[in-house]
C-alpha cells in the first residue's frame, strides 16, 4: 500500500462509528472486497501514529457480544484531517485515472 494510505483508510472507517482494531481490519477487508488484507504489523503501528497525532482517541468499552475492547473514535482534528486527505486522494485518483486513460 502507498505510504500514508492506511492511516486515511482507518480515519474513514472510524468516521462511520467507533471501532476496535479487529473491527477496523474487518471493515477494510470487506469494503475493499478483500483487495486490502491488512497486516496487523502495519495496522497497530498506524493506529499508534494516529493516536500520537491526536487524530483519534481510544477508550475501553464492552462490545455487543460481551468482550472488552479498545474502541477508537475520531477527534475534531481527525475529522479535519480526513476531509483534507479525502480531497487530496480524490484529486490524486482523478489525475491518475486521466493519465492512465489517455494512453490509447
Amino acid at each position: 500500500m502507498l505510504q500514508g494510505t492506511l492511516e486515511v483508510l482507518i480515519l474513514r472507517c472510524l468516521k462511520l462509528q467507533a471501532n476496535h482494531a479487529y473491527g477496523i481490519s474487518l471493515f477494510l477487508q470487506q469494503q475493499s472486497d478483500s483487495e486490502f488484507v491488512v497486516d496487523n504489523g502495519s495496522l497497530y503501528p498506524a493506529i499508534q501514529r494516529l493516536l500520537q497525532r491526536k487524530w483519534i482517541q481510544g477508550q475501553w468499552k464492552t462490545s455487543p457480544n460481551g468482550r472488552r475492547a479498545r474502541y477508537y473514535s475520531l477527534t475534531a482534528a481527525g475529522r479535519k484531517e480526513l476531509l483534507r486527505a479525502t480531497s487530496k486522494w480524490q484529486r490524486f485518483a482523478t489525475a491518475m485515472a486521466k493519465i492512465l486513460a489517455s494512453e490509447g
Partner: protein, 879 residues
C-alpha cells in the same frame, strides 16, 4: 512537535502502561478471531491456533508498534555511549593516557584563560565600567602625568563628552589614638567619585558637594574592610572622629563595597581639595588624575578632541609654560592592564601550543587504534552497520573520552589556579579574583568540544579512502598502515617537535633573561643590608629641623648597636621606581628647545647613604654634613646623567644643574659628585638619569634607612624595632625587610612568566616525546615481519637501527627546521621581555634544538631496542 513531545513522554514515563494496554488490546483481538472461529464450528484449541495464525506474529506486531513510540536516535546514542564506555574500560591504559593528556592540555588552557578573563576581559565592577576613562595630561616628554586643578575644573564644567568627572589621588596618613600608630592609605577624591563608581554607603553617607569645601572637622568615609579590621566594626562609628596625621576627621559613612582604588588598596576616602597654589596657577601639578564617565555613544577620540579644545582655549586666555599640554585619555580597562596584554598573549599562545600537542598526540593514538580496530569495523560494515552509524559511534566514543578528559582538566585547573594566584605577583590587578566562573567553564567546554571533534574526525578523514572489502581480506593490521596514515602521523610528529622547540626556545630566552637580571650587578652591595621604610606623621614632625633631628638620632642610635656596620638613609631606594621626576637642564650647555627639555629622577640622600650602600662614587663627593639648608645648593648626579652631557664624568664637577629646565622657575644647583648607577626601576630596568639632593637641603619626612648588620637578620630586625620604639613609638614602620628581598620583588612578574613558560615547555617536551614514541613504536610493530625477514637474511643490529633511526632522524630534522623558523618568528613577540641578551640568542636557540634532539633520541630508544630484539623465528611463525 506535539508528536515529538508525546514520543519523549512515552519514551520514559508511560512506556510500561502502553505496553500493557497494547497486550490487552491484542488479546481482545485474538478473542474476536477465536469467537468467530468457534462460531464456524471449530474446536476451542483449533480455534485458538487458527486465530493466532490469522493474527500474525504477536511479538513482531508489538515490536513494530513500540517503535512508533521509541526514540531510535536516542536509543542508538545511548547504545553508542554504552559501547564507548565499554571501549574506554577495555583499553584502560590507552584511555588513561588520552584522558591525562587532555586533562593537562585543557586544564592549562582553562587556568590561564581564567586569569586572562579576570584581568583583561571581565567587566569592571562599576555600573558603566566600559565607559569609564582615565584622564591625565601629556607633554612632549611625558604621557599620563597629573592633571592640574584648574584644568580639571574647566574640563568638568565645559566638556560636552562626559556624564561626570572626579579627581582622585593617593595619600598615606598616620592613624594615631587607637593603640599603636598605624600607617594608612587614603584615597583623596572629589565628591562625584562615588557616583561614578556606583558606590553605596552601608552606614551614614558618602561625600556631597559640601565636603569639597574645607570645614572643621574634616570628613572621612571608611571602607568596609578598614571599618571591620581596624575600627572593630563599631556600629556607632558615624559621628566619631579619627586622628589622621594629628588632625581630627569625622567619620560620616562606611562604604558598602570598596570601589577599589584601581591600583592599590585604600583604607578610607577623604575629600580632595586643591592647595592654594593649585587653585591659583594653571601649571601647579599635584598628583591628581581624573576619572571620567563618557556619555553613551561618544568615542574616546571625540572626548580627547573635546578636552583638547578646552586646553587650547585656556592656553590663549591664560598663557603659561604648559600651553603645549594635551589630554591623555585611556579606557580604565586598558589603562590598568597596560603591558599585561602582551604577557597574557604569550602565556595563552604557550598553553594553546600545549593543547595542540595534546591533540596531535591523541589524534595519532586514535589513528593507531583505528588501524587495529579496522577489522572490527570492516566486520561490522559487512553485517550491515551503516557507514554513518559506525562513524557516529566512533565520534561518540571519542567525544565521550574527551568529555571525561575535559572534566578532569577543569578539576586540574581548579587546583592549578589556586597555586597560580598564590604565586602570581600582586601588581597584576584583579588576578586574585580569577575563578572558574561561567565564562571560563564555557570556554573549557568549547575547547573540549573542539578538541573532541578534531580528534574524532581526524582518524575518520584519514581512513576515508580505505576500502573495507580489501581490509577484510588483509591480515590483522590494515587500514592505517597505508601510506596516507603514515604521512599524517609523521606530520603530526614533525609538528610536535617543532612546537616543543618553539616553547623550549621562548622559555629558554625568558629564563636566561631572568637569570641575567637576577645576576645583574645592582651597583651596590645588597648583602646583609636591611631596609627600614618610614613615613613620619606630619602632625608631629612639621618643621624640617624636627625631621632631620629624628633621622639623625635614629641613625646614631642604630650605629651604636652591636653588629651594625653602617647606616644611611635615602628617599627612594633602588627598585622603588619613580618617586618623583622633573625637567632639568645644564646651565653650561646649550639651551634645549622647549620640547626637548630632559627629565631626571629626583632623590634625597643623607651623608652616610652612599657609604652604607657601598655605591661607587665615580667623581667628586657624596652629600656631607656641611651641605646645610642655608649653605650653597649642591647636587650629586648619577653616571647616566653625567654621560648624557660629558664624556668624562669628572668634567661634570663644578658645573650646574638648572632644575625645571630653562623655561620654568627652579633652583640652580652645583654638581659636587657623580655616583654609580643603581637600578631605580627594578633589577631588569635600564639606567635612568637621576640626581640626589643632600638630605638637609631637601628635607623629606619619608625615608628608607639602610642598615648594614652582621649576623641573623631576624635578630637585627628586632633590634631595629626596639631602637625605633625608644626614639618615638608613634612612628609607624611601613616595611622592614632585607634589601635583597625588596629588589627580588622587582623581578616577580618576570619570574612568574618565566616559570610558567618553563612548566609549559616541560609539558610540551613530555607530550612531544610521548607522541614520537607512540609513532615510532607503532612503526616498529607494524614492520615486525619486515624486520624479522631482514634479520633472518642476515641483517645485523646496526642495519636495523640504522633503518629505524633514519625514520626518526627524518622526523627530527623536519621538526627542528620548522621549530627554528617558528622560534625566529616568536622571538619578535618576546623582544620586549628580553634582558641582557638579544631576542634570538643563538645559544638559547642551540639549547632548544639540542633539547628537542635529546627528546627525540629518548623517545626513539625503546622502539629501537624492540626492533633489534625482534626474534625472526617467532615473528615469522606468527604470520
Amino acid at each position: 512537535m506535539r508528536a515529538l513531545w508525546s514520543k519523549i513522554r512515552n519514551a520514559f514515563g508511560k512506556r510500561s502502561t502502553i505496553a500493557l494496554e497494547l497486550d490487552e488490546e491484542m488479546d481482545a483481538h485474538l478473542q474476536f478471531l477465536m469467537d468467530e472461529n468457534l462460531e464456524r464450528g471449530m474446536r476451542p484449541d483449533e480455534a485458538r491456533t487458527a486465530a493466532r495464525r490469522e493474527f500474525g506474529n504477536v511479538r513482531s506486531v508489538r515490536e513494530k508498534t513500540y517503535r512508533t513510540w521509541q526514540f531510535p536516535r536516542l536509543e542508538s546514542f545511548l547504545q553508542d555511549l554504552r559501547y564507548g564506555l565499554r571501549g574506554i574500560f577495555r583499553t584502560p591504559v590507552f584511555s588513561l593516557v588520552v584522558i591525562l593528556t587532555l586533562a593537562i592540555g585543557i586544564g592549562a588552557n582553562t587556568a590561564i584563560f581564567s586569569t586572562v578573563y579576570a584581568v583583561l576581559l571581565k567587566p569592571l565592577p562599576y555600573p558603566a565600567g566600559e565607559r569609564l576613562v582615565w584622564l591625565g595630561e601629556s607633554s612632549a616628554k611625558a604621557t599620563g602625568i597629573s592633571v592640574t586643578w584648574i584644568n580639571f575644573e574647566h574640563w568638568q564644567s565645559d566638556s560636552r563628552s562626559f556624564d561626570g568627572m572626579a579627581g582622585f589621588q593617593n595619600a598615606d596618613l598616620t592613624l594615631t589614638g587607637r593603640g599603636q600608630a598605624l600607617l594608612t592609605h587614603a584615597g583623596l577624591v572629589t565628591n562625584r567619585f562615588f557616583q561614578l563608581t556606583g558606590s553605596r554607603a552601608a552606614l551614614g553617607r558618602l561625600f556631597t558637594a559640601a565636603d569639597d569645601k574645607a570645614e572643621k572637622p574634616e570628613t572621612v568615609v571608611v571602607t568596609e574592610s578598614f571599618w571591620a579590621k581596624t575600627l572593630g566594626a563599631d556600629p556607632q562609628i558615624v559621628g566619631k572622629t579619627l586622628t589622621l596625621n594629628g588632625s581630627a576627621y569625622e567619620v560620616v559613612g562606611v562604604l558598602a563595597r570598596d570601589p577599589g582604588f584601581f591600583l592599590r588598596p585604600v583604607d578610607y576616602y577623604l575629600p580632595l581639595r586643591p592647595s592654594a597654589a593649585q587653585a591659583a596657577k594653571r601649571d601647579a601639578h599635584g598628583s591628581m588624575r581624573v576619572l571620567g564617565l563618557l556619555k553613551p555613544g561618544v568615542t574616546l577620540a571625540e572626548a580627547r578632541t573635546d578636552l583638547n579644545t578646552i586646553l587650547e582655549r585656556l592656553a590663549k586666555a591664560d598663557p603659561g609654560p604648559e600651553d603645549g599640554h594635551r589630554v591623555y585619555a585611556a579606557f580604565l580597562t586598558d589603562e590598568r592592564t597596560e603591558g599585561l596584554g602582551r604577557v597574557f598573549v604569550i602565556l595563552m599562545s604557550a598553553v594553546a601550543l600545549v593543547l595542540l600537542l595534546a591533540c596531535a598526540n591523541i589524534a595519532s593514538l586514535l589513528l593507531i587504534r583505528m588501524t587495529t580496530r579496522a577489522r572490527e569495523m570492516a566486520i561490522r560494515t559487512a553485517i550491515g552497520a551503516g557507514r554513518s552509524r559506525i562513524a557516529r559511534q566512533l565520534v561518540t566514543e571519542t567525544l565521550l573520552i574527551t568529555a571525561i578528559g575535559g572534566a578532569a582538566g577543569v578539576l586540574l585547573a581548579h587546583f592549578c589556579l589556586r597555586l597560580l594566584v598564590q604565586f602570581a605577583p600582586r601588581d597584576i590587578p584583579r588576578l586574585a579574583e580569577a575563578t572558574l566562573n561561567v565564562p571560563v567553564l564555557l570556554f573549557a567546554a568549547a575547547v573540549t568540544i573542539a578538541v573532541g571533534l578534531f580528534c574524532a574526525l581526524a582518524p575518520i578523514f584519514s581512513s576515508g579512502g580505505v576500502n573495507l572489502s580489501i581490509l577484510l581480506k588483509e591480515s590483522t593490521k590494515g587500514a592505517g598502515s597505508n601510506r596516507v596514515g603514515h604521512a599524517i602521523r609523521g606530520g603530526l610528529v614533525v609538528a610536535e617537535i617543532a612546537m616543543a622547540v618553539v616553547l623550549l626556545f621562548v622559555s629558554g630566552i625568558l629564563m636566561r633573561s631572568l637569570y641575567l637580571a637576577e645576576a645583574a650587578s645592582p651597583g651596590f652591595d645588597s648583602s646583609d643590608l636591611l631596609a627600614l621604610e618610614l613615613q613620619l606623621p606630619s602632625g608631629k614632625y612639621k618643621a624640617d629641623a624636627a625631621i632631620l633631628d629624628f633621622y639623625n638620632r635614629l641613625e646614631d642610635s642604630l650605629r651604636a648597636q652591636p653588629g651594625v656596620e653602617s647606616v644611611g638613609a635615602v628617599n627612594c631606594p633602588p627598585g622603588a621606581g619613580d618617586c618623583g621626576d622633573w625637567w632639568y637642564s645644564v646651565a653650561e650647555k646649550p639651551t634645549p628647545a622647549r620640547d626637548d627639555v630632559p627629565l631626571t629622577l629626583l632623590n634625597v640622600a643623607d651623608p652616610q647613604y652612599f657609604n652604607a650602600m657601598k655605591i661607587r662614587l665615580v667623581a667628586g663627593r657624596g652629600p656631607s654634613s656641611e651641605d646645610r639648608a642655608d649653605g650653597p645648593a649642591v647636587v650629586i648626579i648619577n653616571e647616566e646623567l653625567a654621560h648624557a652631557w660629558w664624556k668624562d664624568a669628572r668634567s661634570a664637577i663644578g658645573q650646574h644643574i638648572k632644575l625645571g629646565g630653562p623655561y620654568m622657575k627652579g633652583p640652580v644647583l652645583e654638581i659636587v659628585g657623580v655616583a654609580g648607577n643603581v637600578p631605580q626601576m627594578g633589577l631588569d630596568s635600564a639606567p635612568y638619569p637621576e640626581i640626589y639632593f643632600p638630605s638637609a637641603q631637601r628635607v623629606s619626612s619619608g625615608m628608607v634607612v639602610a642598615i648594614r648588620t652582621h649576623g641573623d637578620p631576624e635578630q637585627a630586625a628586632a633590634m631595629v624595632r626596639r631602637t625605633l620604639a625608644l626614639i618615638d613609638q608613634d612612628v609607624p614602620i611601613q616595611s622592614l625587610k632585607p634589601f635583597d628581598e625588596r629588589l627580588g620583588a622587582t623581578l616577580k612578574q618576570r619570574r612568574f612568566i618565566a616559570v610558567l613558560l618553563a612548566i609549559f615547555a616541560g609539558i610540551a617536551v613530555l607530550l612531544a616525546a610521548i607522541g614520537c614514541y607512540g609513532v615510532l613504536n607503532y612503526w616498529v610493530s607494524s614492520r615486525r615481519q619486515d624486520i624479522a625477514i631482514r634479520i633472518a637474511m642476515g641483517a645485523g643490529s646496526v642495519a636495523i637501527v640504522r633503518r629505524i633511526g633514519r625514520q626518526a632522524a627524518m622526523l627530527a630534522a623536519a621538526g627542528l627546521a620548522m621549530g627554528l623558523v617558528g622560534s625566529w618568528l616568536a622571538s619578535r613577540w618576546i623582544a620586549s621581555m628580553v634582558f641582557g641578551i638579544t631576542a634570538h640568542d643563538p645559544a638559547v636557540l642551540g639549547f632548544a634544538a639540542a633539547g628537542a634532539l635529546m627528546m627525540v633520541m629518548a623517545a626513539a630508544a625503546f622502539p629501537l631496542w624492540r626492533a633489534v630484539r625482534v626474534s625472526p623465528i617467532e615473528t615469522l611463525r606468527e604470520a
